[in-house]
């Protein structure tokens, strides 16, 4: 490698650090944006549901979602599903990692915010407030709209999304 190239690389590194620095200074909550949140409306009489969303991390370092809370349910936990030979296993998780400049996708059949003991039945048009807390103690309030499973699926069936679905199999 020539000296010229090396100096360009060093310069690029310094530039990169300078650009990233202001972002690094912010809290996890400031670096993470929440996209397309929804909470699933469950059949009458059922009191457990899942809230789903995409967490995007604009930061140059990894962050972790460590807690979710909501006044809409007695208990709120972070859960995931694993598929072991066709057997679906739901388990609580300690945290959900959101990689640097990456995202964590909370979706049906996978990671989700588990809401246990809903205090009232959810209807279309309702919103629940979920507070997300990150590893540095910073937190973020998210307004999560309630969605019927049928509506949820229609949205999932949108062209372009179908492609993703096929890849799952």
């Amino acid at each position: 490698m020539t000296n010229k190239f090396r100096s360009i690389r060093i310069a690029a590194c310094i530039m990169g650090t300078l650009i990233a620095a202001p972002v690094l200074a912010g809290s996890a909550a400031e670096s993470i944006s929440v996209n397309d949140p929804f909470v699933r409306i469950v059949p009458p009489g059922m009191t457990n549901t899942g809230a789903f969303m995409v967490l995007k991390n604009a930061d140059a370092k990894d962050h972790k979602l460590v807690k979710a809370e909501s006044s809409a349910s007695k208990v709120t936990e972070l859960h995931t599903h694993t598929n072991e030979g066709g057997v679906m296993k739901m388990r609580p998780v300690k945290d959900i990692e959101i990689k640097a400049n990456g995202e964590a996708v909370l979706k049906p059949g996978s990671l989700h915010v588990m809401m246990i003991g809903l205090k009232q039945e959810l209807k279309e048009g309702d919103n629940v407030t979920v507070t997300l807390t990150f590893e540095d103690g910073s937190s973020k309030k998210v307004e999560v709209p309630a969605r019927k499973i049928q509506t949820e699926m229609k949205m999932e069936m949108k062209p372009g999304m179908m492609h993703d679905h096929k890849n799952m199999h």
């Binding site: 699933r40 469950v42 059949p43 009458p44 009489g45 059922m46 457990n48 549901t49 899942g50 007695k74 208990v75 936990e77 859960h79 599903h81 598929n83 030979g85 066709g86 057997v87 679906m88 296993k89 739901m90 388990r91 609580p92 049906p108 059949g109 989700h112 588990m114 809401m115 246990i116 003991g117 499973i149 049928q150 949820e152 699926m153 069936m157 179908m162 679905h165 799952m168 199999h169």
Partner: protein, 197 residues
Amino acid sequence: MKKITIGIMVALALLLFWVLLMRQPAGEHGQPGPAETRGGDFTLRSTNGPVALHDLKGKVVLLYFGYTFCPDICPTSLGFTSQALAALDKTELDKVQMLFVTVDPARDTLEKLKSYTAYFHPGIIGLSGTPEEIAKVAKLYGVDYAKQNTGSAGGYVVDHSAYTYVIAPDGSLFKSLDHGTPPAQVIEAIHAAMKKS
């Protein structure tokens, strides 16, 4: 003398019965068999009384094992299947029966199963039985399920196979659909199973 003859005959009959019982190959008691030998008749209970698979002959039966506390997997499976049912016309729908068998009979009452399944499609029948009866049906279809205490405040969860079993009108297992099979493919499988009769 007559008494002794009867005694011998009874003893012989018992012996024959015992031999027949023991003749079952030992291998049948372990793991479920390969896919092609899975399936079989069963009877479980619904809010409207017993439901037997043989009573549904002539219909395509969609069989799913789950539980109502399941907030995610079961609703997704039932949601997709009910969309498929909703897309069938009346004559086709008359030839299809969806069954939801609970793997959590301790918490799922028949009434709870009914309101749960009706939310997805009014035609779905929720079924339960004793833990032994359910275990027997699950084994027939190769369904694995196990209660797990995960430390969640929501109480125990039940790990379970999330396939939808498509049973042909003759009562034989036609196909297993993976979790999350889109409605279009569920409809395709229903039509293919109908042709099998």
